[in-house]
């Protein structure tokens, strides 16, 4: 009797577990690719582990690595530069990208060629972009210096990359050149989804171009914009490749970012414990900033 009662329950149990089984490979992959390295770094951040001294962690040292990172002379300047670069870069790239997207959406002559050309910078590795701009910023005959002189704003005597006042801006400009098209293309795709009948109705109601942008187009692409803004902000917060090729953080600490400091600690000084602590400090900061941003940006959203 009991068999007869239990037997029909099997398919139900399988059905109940099936979603978990199906999702399990993805979860396992995610855990192994994301969570494991983070937890491994968390563990290392509490150990003295410098590859210049030993191939293995030598000693548990509690929060000493965190203290060393936060009290280091390069931390605050790096954080300041990183915030300037990420916030300014994201705003400029978004604004320029939106302008370009609106231009593309106007179906002017030559737009299909422009669309194809726009994608090019985003396909180049940042290191290569760094080298391209290094030649452009070269004090001995670089294009940027020549153009600046032409418009009556000659570069500093130390060169664009050698001056404390222009080094960070030069990195920012290279990043803007590379990533503005990314915003433009994604926002252009968002604009294409705006119904032409909606625009036509607004036009018949006498709405100005500005009103249509502000009241119709922008609200409709805002969900896309919020997501790519988060993505670019996080990428910019971790910038190190352009810094490595263009300035190595100099002169002094003028253009050093947290990402470059992390590179220095991990791949030049080989201090795994210190680099792990830096990693976690950056992870925490980025998550706090992104959570705050998301809380404001996603407020009152219907999903």
């Amino acid at each position: 009797m009991s068999h007869a009662q239990v037997a029909p329950a099997r398919p139900n149990r399988l059905r109940a577990w099936l979603p978990f089984l199906l999702i399990a490979p993805s979860v396992i992959l995610l855990l192994s690719l994301v969570l494991y390295p983070l937890l491994f770094a968390l563990k290392n951040s509490f150990y003295f582990w410098n590859l210049q001294r030993s191939a293995e962690p030598l000693q548990f040292i509690g929060l000493a690595n965190y203290k060393m990172v936060l009290s280091g002379p390069e931390f605050l300047p790096s954080l300041t530069n990183t915030l300037i670069l990420s916030v300014t870069g994201t705003i400029i790239e978004f604004a320029l990208g939106l302008a370009v997207a609106l231009l593309l959406a106007n179906r002017l002559p030559g737009m299909s060629v422009s669309r194809a050309l726009l994608i090019l910078p985003t396909t180049i590795a940042p290191v290569v972009v760094g080298f391209l701009f290094r030649y452009m910023y070269d004090p001995a005959g670089g294009l940027a210096g020549w153009l600046l002189t032409l418009i009556g704003a000659p570069p500093p005597a130390e060169g664009i990359l050698g001056s404390s006042t222009t080094a960070l801006a030069a990195i920012l400009f290279a990043d803007v050149w590379q990533w503005t098209p990314f915003f433009a293309i994604v926002l252009y795709a968002g604009l294409l989804s705006v119904s032409p009948s909606l625009i036509e109705a607004a036009r018949l109601d006498g709405a100005s171009a500005w009103t249509m942008l502000w009241r119709i187009k922008l609200p409709l692409v805002m969900k896309t914009a919020v997501i790519i803004i988060i993505l670019r902000f996080m990428q910019l917060f971790n910038t190190f490749d352009l810094v490595l090729v263009l300035t190595k953080g100099g002169p002094g600490l003028s253009s050093r970012t947290l990402g470059y400091t992390l590179y220095q600690q991990g791949l030049v000084d080989f201090n795994i414990g210190l680099a792990s602590a830096s990693t976690w400090i950056i992870v925490i900061m980025v998550n706090i900033l992104v959570t705050l941003y998301a809380a404001i940006a996603f407020k009152n959203w219907e999903w």
Partner: protein, 477 residues
């Protein structure tokens, strides 16, 4: 029409033929695997291009095939450390910068070469200039690498500029005060329509600026530590805020004031190339540039504007104190994980032999660009003297040169160099003054050394003197 030619039988026959060839190929594979070969990982310095040209000769002579790869400075070290830590055999022969040798040996990442050298009559260790072995290749009384390119530091000056400005050409035994005074007379003058800079410095952080500055700190007798490496008991208490170090940094800042301002971002080759552009009166730099400034760029072969118009003289000294010259360079070592140690030693011995080094020097594919010899016999070689007439001067500059004094190879050298390079760059950029920068360096050194269990230093010490190296050479000869 073509289709009609492909019958099923022909298709099957062809397929079977390919399958048979593949099967035979797989049978032949073990035979290929047994071929002798060696993997070599080097840095992309000029010597590497000369050496690369000669690799077919090595294979022809020994039957050993060479997989040869050149990387940038940072990339090389990252790749090496990565393979050491993962205990993988990335290469059988590796390039080792002089400051890495101690750290690599202490960690067991490279193996001492004493046994190889001692048992090999062809190696001829007595032919090496002892200063090069001491500075580049020894650690705790062992031969751990073999020099493949040795550089001292010397001064290059424009003869025509000196003549037109009525300045006497400098001679050995001169002082840094005289050096500075001459630069002041050149700086800002117009010669042949060119506005001259007194000198050019290497200002880029962190490594290049330390390389050039450390010649000054060596000259002005400003050691980094209290007692290392020539001491019975090592004491890494930092001495970075000493009066002599302050004098050295102040002098370097003055030299920057007499240089093109963009040199704050100059790396090694930028400084050399700038001299080649003929608007620099005089500068000191690695002896590799005695040759490289003749060319208008890296590996172009085209002559520069200063070719034939510059003289070479030893670095100035500090008053009447004896001259102290920085000696650096690259050597070849053997990782502990090397899968083919016999082949690796064959390659090291060949690449550093007098015969190969001479051929590297005479190689003219990209213009002559290798004169960084470590072997005594090559400085007097008549063929080489025709190409590099300055070799006797270059040899004289090696006398008493000491790389371990100029840039002490402490176990966490890379970290210390990073700290120092940043602060030197800040001084040049006007972001810090000399006193504040050196106090900062001293504090950060203390923190880093304490954090790495080097203050106090409780591990075994080794009195690493030039005499100890000479004794080692005698024991291996």
């Amino acid at each position: 029409m073509t289709h009609s030619n492909v019958t099923r039988r022909r298709f099957l026959g062809t397929t079977a033929g390919f399958a048979g060839a593949a099967a035979l190929g797989s049978l032949a594979a073990p035979a290929i695997a047994q071929e002798r070969s060696v993997r070599v990982l080097t840095v992309g310095d000029p010597f590497q291009y000369s050496l690369r040209e000669l690799l077919p000769e090595f294979t022809a002579k020994t039957g050993i095939k060479v997989e040869f790869e050149g990387l940038g400075y940072d990339a090389l070290q990252a790749r090496l450390i990565s393979s050491f830590v993962s205990k993988t055999s990335d290469a059988d022969v590796i390039n080792v910068d002089q400051m890495w040798a101690g750290q690599y040996t202490d960690n067991g990442w490279i193996q001492p070469l004493n046994d190889f050298a001692k048992g090999d009559s062809d190696f001829n260790i007595n032919d090496f200039v002892p200063e090069t072995l001491h500075s580049i290749s020894t650690w705790r009384g062992n031969l751990v690498t073999v020099p493949v390119a040795s550089y001292s530091q010397g001064v290059m000056y424009r003869k025509s500029v000196f003549e037109k400005l009525g300045i006497d050409e400098p001679a050995a035994g001169w002082t840094w005060d005289q050096y500075k005074e001459i630069l002041g007379r050149i700086h800002g003058q117009e010669v042949d329509g060119v506005k001259m800079n007194g000198t050019v410095v290497c200002g880029a952080q962190p490594v290049p600026v330390v390389h050039m500055f450390s010649q000054l700190s060596a000259s002005l007798n400003a050691p980094w530590f209290k007692a290392f490496p020539g001491a019975e008991t090592w004491d890494f208490t930092p001495q970075m805020n000493s009066e002599n170090m302050k004098r050295a940094v102040s002098l370097y800042k003055e030299l920057y004031g007499l240089s093109p301002q963009e040199s704050i971002n100059y790396t090694w080759f930028d400084a050399g190339t700038r001299f080649s552009q003929a608007d620099i009166g005089m500068f000191y730099w690695w002896s590799a540039y005695f040759t490289l400034v003749n060319a208008d760029g890296y590996m172009t072969g085209a002559p520069s504007k200063v070719k034939g118009d510059f003289g070479i003289v030893p670095c100035p000294q500090d008053g009447t104190n004896p001259s102290r010259v920085s000696l650096g360079g690259w050597s070849l070592g053997m990782p502990s994980t090397a899968g083919r140690p016999e082949e690796a030693w064959e390659f090291i011995k060949w690449a550093t032999s007098a015969e190969t080094q001479k051929a590297m020097g005479l190689n003219d594919k990209f213009g002559h660009m290798f004169s960084d010899f470590s072997r005594e016999s090559l400085f007097a070689d008549s063929d080489l003297l025709e190409v590099y007439p300055f070799l006797p001067q270059a040899r004289a500059m090696l006398n008493g040169a000491d790389g371990k004094l100029a840039r002490p190879p402490a176990p966490i050298y890379t970290t210390l160099e990073g700290i120092f390079g940043l602060e030197l760059n800040k001084v040049l950029a006007g972001q810090s003054d000399v006193d504040a920068a050196l106090e900062q360096v001293n504090t950060l050194y203390t923190n880093a050394l304490s954090g790495n269990f080097m203050l106090p230093y409780v591990q075994p010490s080794f009195n690493d003197t030039f005499d100890a190296t000479k004794a080692l050479i005698a024991s291996l000869a």
